[in-house]
Amino acid sequence: MLLYVLVGYVLLCIESPLLSSFHVRMYAPDPALAVVVYAAAAMDFLPGIFTAFILGLLKDGFSGGVPLGLHVETFVAVFLAGAALSRRLDYRGAVLMALTVVVASLASSFLFFILSAIFDRDFEEFDLIFRLAIPQALVSAPMGPIVGGILSFIDNRVLQVEREGLFR
């Protein structure tokens, strides 16, 4: 769980300056969402949902300006949906992972809209959410396989270390 949170934290740390450097802040991919989607398929339920919760909190911290809890709610909801989906379909392959991230991104944009409308009294740019929903989903899609690859690699290394010891 901690490793997933750490990976999500590092990706969120990198995301902001990276996007500023390339001047693509408007169409920002969401690596934390990809971590949550992968966690829903790869982790046990309880550690997974707490991972989603913590990543949501971190995302709120990184976002700034949104009411605290907005991304927490979104990520927990996405995790629940992902966990339900993963019981029927293992989507950890590259293509399915990308597709799932697209759907999750669209769903999170919709949730973002609803929750902002209800709870954020200052928020007025509702049309922006809908205008950016599809581009953001599309740029987030490649993050699925990338994040999945990283987490899968970490999982395998952890398993290997557990099996063979750190200093084999």
């Binding site: 934290y9 590092v10 969120l12 740390c13 990198i14 902001s16 300056p17 990276l18 500023s20 450097s21 339920f45 309880l46 949902i49 707490f50 919760f53 949501g56 909190l57 971190l58 709120d60 911290g61 990184f62 700034g64 009411p67 605290l68 809890g69 907005l70 927490v72 709610e73 927990v76 909801a77 629940l80 929750l115 209800i118 709870f119 954020d120 009294r121 200052d122």
Partner: protein
């Protein structure tokens, strides 16, 4: 039973994790409120990471920008260097042309002044230097075959003064014996002083002005001009300048070193005087000085 309670627990946790953010949003979504401890903690966790990565990226981007800037500067530098070389070359050509222009203008003026002399321009194509690196002989691009053929003993002059006389003519070229040559002798007088004598080449240094002993106040810089008495050089051309206040007595004669009027290493264009013998004044046919032809 235990499976049921586990499911219940999970459902409860899900409910809590879904409802808790709603409360948080309700509380934090208010327009006017101060920062809560939860926000402080979350920002305290996220800000250092963001700051660190931002610093790393900023430095990285700055380094890349600096590198690309340096690469651009280097390319620009090379371009400018090439431009400077080209400009230097152009400036050098310009200076050379200007110098040539000045020389040719001076020659034209000289030709206009010397109406009695038939002057044919010639270009120096080679210089022979002596072991002490002084020019001992020059070759001109005028020979026996041209429209105005060069002939032996023709005086060679420039606007500055006398260069020497034609020694040999071969084909399209002729060699000039300079006034510094040990075989060269020229009848001259000190302008305004009435002292006449010979300008004699020494071969290995400055020529000397040799004249019979007489009381005269000669000084460095006095101009020596041709008298025409030698029937070789026309009258009134500058032959050189006295190079010293000191004189040396050699037998019955006095010698003073002379600075030639012409700087031989810089010589580019000259005039051949093709009617020198006609231009010699009649009173100059006889003279007390023997001149070697």
């Amino acid at each position: 039973m235990s499976q049921k309670s586990t499911r219940f627990k999970i459902a409860l946790i899900c409910l809590v994790l879904l409802v808790l953010p709603l409360f948080s949003m309700y509380f934090h979504g208010r327009t006017e409120r101060s920062q809560t401890p939860v926000e402080t903690v979350v920002i305290g966790i996220t800000a250092p990471g963001q700051k660190l990565v931002h610093a790393v990226f900023s430095n990285l981007v700055a380094a890349v920008k600096r590198y690309t800037y340096l690469v651009e500067v280097e390319a620009q530098n090379e371009e400018l260097r090439a431009g400077i070389e080209e400009l230097k070359l152009t400036a050098m050509k310009g200076r050379r042309l200007e110098e040539e222009n000045q020389r040719l203008r001076a020659m034209l003026e000289f030709r206009d002044e010397q109406k009695g002399l038939a002057l044919t321009a010639a270009r120096v194509i080679a210089r022979e230097t002596s072991p002490v690196f002084s020019v001992s002989r020059v070759r001109l691009d005028r020979g026996a075959d041209g429209k105005v053929p060069a002939a032996a003993n023709m005086p060679v002059v420039t606007p500055e003064g006398v260069v020497g006389r034609v020694e040999k003519v071969a084909g399209d070229y002729c060699d000039v014996m300079l006034v510094t040559d040990s075989r060269s002798k020229m009848d001259v007088q000190v302008a305004g002083k009435g002292v006449s004598g010979l300008l004699v080449g020494t071969g290995d240094g400055l020529p000397v002005f040799r004249f019979p002993y007489q009381k005269a106040r000669l000084s460095k810089g006095d101009v020596l001009i041709t008298t025409g008495h030698d029937r070789l050089f026309p009258k009134g051309l500058v032959a050189g300048y006295l190079g010293s206040d000191e004189s040396k007595q050699v037998g019955q004669q006095i010698e003073i070193p002379v600075e030639p009027a012409v700087r031989f290493p810089m010589l580019q264009e000259v005039f051949l005087v093709t009617n020198a013998q006609d231009a010699v004044p009649p009173e100059a046919v006889t003279g007390s000085w023997e001149v070697t032809r």
